[in-house]
């Protein structure tokens, strides 16, 4: 039986933080910690969630939590895990929460190292698709076309020209024991994956889309809705990698409108119909590959 709102730990472990109103990342952290419970030890690199949660003397984690170096989420998780193991303590969960930049850019090497060693840690990437803490700069998980403060949309360059890196498949390529994608728009699915991951020994990677209303240019009350819509329109997908194979958890028969998804966000305001067609084509190409290589749940 999957975990749900009723069975979820009533304790709040991430509380009183200074994240922007409607922050998707803080929802991902909050919910994951409620699933993992009081014996979780959280490691967060420099980034939004550490910046908003750890300003002495305002300390917003009710469980054990520590800030790592920006590049060092996974390696510090390894140290926490190994240090406790060496003392004979194994009934805890070392969990990392790093953003897209902290995961797919500066922290990728350390993450790869941890997966390679198969350290017993859970790494959660809350993906808000840019360096939001420093003021919305492009990361390697910023999607095609998005305007950021380092990919301005002007006459010559129309926002970010690169496609989003597929971190989920990169993690899976290590033959990791468990990897999954999720979205805070499908919170029950996310909770179930966190719970499942916590019961698997070895390295686990969960990549959760967590919209940033400030960076995406949507109203603060639209975070959850847009996190659902990105899945429904097929630009993000819910999947798992386990025992060497991929499976898709949700295969929309018909996608909702990509154009509508794009048009409601400030970061895509400059895109024209041709740009949107590029996005739709790349979505279709990806789903063609998914249908070939992923099994249906």
């Amino acid at each position: 039986m999957s975990i749900n709102a009723k069975t979820l730990d009533k304790t709040e472990y991430f509380y009183g933080h200074k994240a922007c109103a409607g922050c998707g990342g803080s929802l991902a952290v909050r919910i994951a910690l409620k699933v993992l419970g009081k014996r979780s030890i959280a490691v967060l690199p420099a980034g939004c969630m550490s910046a908003v949660g750890f300003n002495f003397p305002q300390l917003c984690f009710g469980n054990n939590a520590i800030i790592s170096t920006f590049a060092g989420t996974a390696s510090m998780l390894t140290g926490v895990y190994a240090g406790l193991k060496a003392q004979g303590i194994t009934d805890f969960q070392a969990v990392g929460f790093a953003g897209d930049g902290g995961t797919a850019d500066i922290g990728l090497q350390a993450l790869s190292g941890a997966i390679d060693r198969n350290d017993d840690i859970l790494y959660i990437c809350y993906d808000n698709e840019a360096y939001m803490n420093t003021g919305i700069q492009k990361s390697s998980l910023t999607p095609f076309g998005a305007k950021t403060t380092t990919t301005p949309a002007g006459k010559n360059i129309r926002g970010n020209l690169r496609q989003k890196k597929n971190m989920f498949e990169i993690a899976a390529a290590h033959d990791i024991p468990y990897a999954a994608t999720a979205s805070i728009g499908y919170i029950n699915d996310f909770m179930a994956k966190v719970e499942k991951a916590s019961k698997i020994r070895g390295t686990k990677y969960i990549h959760v889309i967590a919209p940033c209303p400030t960076g995406w240019g949507v109203a603060s009350d639209q975070t959850v809705d847009i996190a659902k819509e990105v899945v429904d329109c097929g630009l993000w997908y819910l999947a798992e990698y386990e025992n060497g194979s991929f499976k898709i958890n949700r295969r929309p028969k018909e996608f909702s409108s990509v154009e509508e998804y794009i048009r409601r966000q400030g970061r895509f305001k400059h895109l024209n119909d041709e740009d949107i067609k590029v996005i739709i084509d790349s979505r279709d190409k990806k789903w063609e590959a998914i249908d070939k290589t992923y099994s249906l749940q």
Binding site: K38, R39, I41, V43, S50, A51, F54, N55, F56, P57, L59, F61, G62, N63, N64, A65, I66, I67, S68, T69, A71, G72, A74, S75, M76, L77, T78, G79, V80, Y81, A82, G83, L84, K85, A86, Q87, I89, F92, Q109, A110, S112, G113, D116, R117
Partner: protein
């Protein structure tokens, strides 16, 4: 105690085995590799019980060590040169977090040009990173420092990481007869690591947080205090060490024939042995010369140095380091101390051994000869100087 024929690296690894680190995370780099290899063998043959982590970089090596220390485990890492610079961010992080990690650094030149041989520009460039820094002269001292390092770093008044420096190749790869203490003696010397500065499953804590302008300077003040406190804890550790092992060390500096010396060379690391030999040679010719060997660059023995050289007429710093555009960093530190503690002594700086260039006894004699003339200069051995 057992006598063994060991290289500096192997001796250091023996010292670390006796200190029982619970987590070892290190990345290979010449000339440090042998330490890590030996430790992995000790873990394999169970002469050391430890979690040995094959990290993928030096940055991760130190980050992992911090994670382990943050849950109250004794942690060890080792590096050299480029590796030290690659983990530089972590150096400041570990000291700011007051994690008493021990790291061995095999002193090696830094690129460019690429060079694997010994100079001390790597560690001396990190003097401000908040670590205790020791410089061993020989393999025996390296082993003993390895064992003492945890005593000092983990002391409640210190709680500061410790960087033990061994000159690359000259010390790391040179074999000597070394006394290896018994496990039982080592356990008697070194208490178990206990700390409040940790994540605790029974009493959850938040660690390594931010602190704004109202609080930040207080944390920094306390960090400074911790490093200064290391001086008295080093004395305490050496006292206890002498009681148990019978070998006595001399604190932050070692003086050699300085009492009546008119000219003194201040230096550090493995070159000190040759300087002492040269002093003996010159003493036979009735030249009043001596040596101050700096054993610890942090905490800096300013007062001790000033006291040791105050009756001399001229000192020369001999160092394997240059702070480009200025002078050798050891020289800067020494001059500041002489001024602050009122030692009225002329001083010169000799930069040698860069990229492993040999320093000969003749070079050292030449230094003693030059400072007779009371010149104050910064001179590269074998090239020339620049008048100050």
């Amino acid at each position: 105690m057992a006598k063994k024929f060991l290289s500096g690296n192997e001796a250091f690894a023996e010292g670390i085995r006796l200190a029982r680190p619970q987590v070892i995370s290190a990345y290979p780099i010449t000339p440090q590799t042998i330490v890590v290899e030996r430790l992995s063998e000790m873990v394999e043959d169970k002469s050391l019980e430890s979690e040995f982590i094959h990290v993928e970089s030096e940055h991760s090596a130190l980050s992992c060590a911090m994670g382990a220390s943050a849950v109250g485990a004794r942690a060890f890492t080792a590096t050299s040169s480029q590796g030290l610079l690659y983990m530089a961010e972590g150096l400041y992080y570990a000291s700011g977090g007051r994690f008493p990690i021990v790291m061995m650094n095999a002193n090696r030149s830094t690129a460019l040009p690429w060079n694997i041989y010994g100079d001390q520009r790597d560690s001396l460039s990190q003097l401000d990173s908040g670590w205790i820094q020791s410089y061993a002269e020989n393999a025996q001292e390296a082993l003993d420092m390895a064992l003492m390092s945890y005593y000092i770093a983990e002391h409640k008044d210190v709680s500061t990481p410790y960087m033990a420096n061994l000159d690359g190749f000259v010390l790391t790869h040179t074999y000597e007869v070394v006394d290896v203490p018994e496990r039982e003696q080592a356990d008697r010397f070194l208490p178990k690591f206990t700390t409040d500065n940790k994540l605790d499953l029974e009493n959850p804590r938040n660690l390594a947080f931010s602190a704004g302008p109202d609080h930040n300077y207080i944390f920094k003040y306390k960090e400074h205090e911790g490093l200064l406190n290391a001086a008295k804890v080093i004395d305490e550790a050496e006292e206890k060490f002498a009681d148990i092992f019978g070998r006595r060390y001399t604190g932050l500096i070692e003086t050699y024939k300085t009492e009546d010396a008119e000219r003194i060379i201040i230096t550090l690391g493995s070159i000190s042995g040759l300087v002492k030999e040269t002093v003996n040679k010159l003493r036979e010719k009735d030249e009043k010369v001596g040596v101050v060997r700096i054993r610890y660059m942090r905490p800096f023995p300013g007062k001790e140095i000033a006291e040791a050289v105050k009756n001399a007429s001229h000192i020369a710093v001999l160092e394997k380091d240059i702070s480009f555009g200025n002078e050798g960093t050891v020289y800067t530190n020494v001059n500041s101390a002489l001024h602050r503690f009122g030692a009225d002594v002329r001083s010169s700086d000799y930069i040698g051994g860069l990229g492993g260039k040999n320093i000969s006894s003749a070079d050292i004699e030449d230094i003693f000869e030059r400072i007779k003339n009371d010149d104050t200069e910064v001179r590269f051995l074998g090239i020339g100087g620049e008048e100050n």
